[in-house]
Symmetry: C2
Subunit: 434 residues, 2 copies
Amino acid sequence: MQDRTYTADAEPGDTVTVAGWVHEIRDLGGIAFLILRDTTGKIQVKFEKEEMDDDLVETGLGVHRESVIVVTGDVEEEPRAPTGVEVTPASVEVLAEADPQLPLDPSGKVDAELSTRLDNRTLDLRKEEVKAIFEIRAEILRSVREAFRSLGCTEINTPKIVATGTEGGTELFPITYFGREAFMNQSPQLFKQLMVGSGLERVFEIGPIFRAEEHNTPRHLNEATSIDFESAFADHTEAMDACEEVVRAAYEGVAENCQKELEALDLTDEFEVPPEEFPRLTYEEAIERINATGELDEQLVWGDDLPTEGEKALGEDVGSHYFITDWPAEIKPFYIKDHDDDEQLSTGFDMMHPRMELVSGGQREHRYDHLVEGFEQQGLDPEAFEYYTKMFKYGMPPHAGWGLGCERLVMTMLGLPNIREGVLFPRDRQRLSP
Amino acid sequence: MQDRTYTADAEPGDTVTVAGWVHEIRDLGGIAFLILRDTTGKIQVKFEKEEMDDDLVETGLGVHRESVIVVTGDVEEEPRAPTGVEVTPASVEVLAEADPQLPLDPSGKVDAELSTRLDNRTLDLRKEEVKAIFEIRAEILRSVREAFRSLGCTEINTPKIVATGTEGGTELFPITYFGREAFMNQSPQLFKQLMVGSGLERVFEIGPIFRAEEHNTPRHLNEATSIDFESAFADHTEAMDACEEVVRAAYEGVAENCQKELEALDLTDEFEVPPEEFPRLTYEEAIERINATGELDEQLVWGDDLPTEGEKALGEDVGSHYFITDWPAEIKPFYIKDHDDDEQLSTGFDMMHPRMELVSGGQREHRYDHLVEGFEQQGLDPEAFEYYTKMFKYGMPPHAGWGLGCERLVMTMLGLPNIREGVLFPRDRQRLSP
């Protein structure tokens, strides 16, 4: 509709054609108001029954809520209208009549369960505060890509159908690929590493990952969006620097471009861009601090993975984004490099939000012999990964990188109670449709 | 490596640490040159054997091609060097020694089959002209996203694991999803339509699509990247306008930011940004013009789909990007709206490059009854798509959109002979790894 004016742009004195959904009709007898909603906001349409054509009044006031209509008319100032202006319609056209029985109330007056909302995302996303989450999500992706560009990264797309998973056969969804067994990729890890050995050197990818995890928790998804970074000639500390920059860029982008959305989510006051440097705790310091909180029944000892309650206690203790570095080598994957001066200690790191882990990264093992050994130690057949390992024989530079869960970033940034709030159509054990 | 200087930034008078791959060693007896290559270019490293430490000379000249090394030394002007400067090394460190038997020659002196190149993408991408393709691909994605932003679109991510495909059960890869049958999505079509009925109104998505097509041609892929656009309150002509803008933006971005890459591909002279408007031919005009070329053995009649040779003949005849509009309704999918004044005529359109189809789009059927009828006519069970159809009962505005094949855009823009040249790790009937 070339001649359409967004409701937010309707100014007193204009004759406009506005289009959108019937948000509400308030009939006061001789006068009635229709609130029309579009992507930019809402506008009041006034029906003075005695002074208007009967057909016009009937069309405008006879339509059900959430129907799609087009209104042409003059805009006038009206201090009592929600946006200070109102339209006196010269014509009203119904483009799509809505069924009066809505499965979900987009005005938000009636609360709905998350599962009802997800079944009816189209209606759910007509709510300002839900729409705001996805406008912010889009801004996060935009500003993250811009940050990667400033870091000199080239965007890549790696295959989602693969012959072997990154970390072996568990947690993979099997596909039938022209009669052959294949899998949906659980991480671009191996592919992005292959790219840092190419002329690209520094790359990023934002794309879907698939994990057949049995978890069904408020912070796990079986299909998620992963934000991946990998750089040649970088060690784990430089990868952490890049991580700080990218996460901060996401917050800065939202602060700069999404004030209206933060307001819709009632977050204007508490929204804060994290500081330039995130505290870097060693794993050893982390378990000491967790033990000191007294929150765990049993004290952690060196070599333990951090339990969820431990992460939570530490997160509350630190109170900001932070890194955990220098993990025991044995609990990090084979492709993470150990410290040269201590093989028990890994260069792997996690970047944590007080609520949960957001990023996992590290310097990678770039030495062919060590890498093949790592596969064997992890119980994986190096032959099945030959397409990957063999490139390490032809000049693979030292490199480091990380993967950041997009939905966890959205969830923690906006304080969402459930990760599914940040995904249009989440996939979990139960949910495969819509 | 915080102290690293890219070879392109090394200036006479500097003391630099450069890192990269050994591109070539030329030993002239008393003097030898090592050409070091990094992501920004190449630099000459000079070894004057008599005047240098033996260990240094041995390390620098004893290393195999494509090994990764770090060189620290002083930069001096040297007009005979490829970049006009050379480094006299004070130290050379080998970070990764390459096997002397390379499966592919990154200097490009020895030609390799495409399949060998794809098996060894890491090495293949050390060639300037191959790297250029993927730098350009990344710039295309960047500028396309910026164009979508100017068009007021919100970026979305829709699920790749689905219970039902867009156009039914054929050409879908089946997945086992926690014991249930599911599929990899062949198009975000239905999901993006659901979003235009939400408060987002206008959306785009760039993501993978999966098609179990048996085709094995130079222009088909089984996993591809789709660039999707969908807008509420738009008809097919407005969708075509947006298509022109987005495709032009891709060309403009490349013209502006990829001169070096175009040079590497020897395309500087012939690269042209398409004009603002692409000719719009009706289907009827298209078959007439194809028939007039005399290239087909049999004349096309109304209702025929356009055969590949017909597209080719027409492409040569038109000689630029163009649209084909007003297709027979029966050969367009059920979700495309027919013209109100002629039900035999579809609002569907294709946007063509002289070599092949790039875009498929149209105004969508937004009327619930017509949509359900369309499902039945196509032999699909509307019940299986209820998650989609039911939203059309609750106020679905008129809308239009299109899908653009990213790889085809790259391929046609750069004149690549095979679509696989524009994908890092292509997937086809034979190729599942790397």
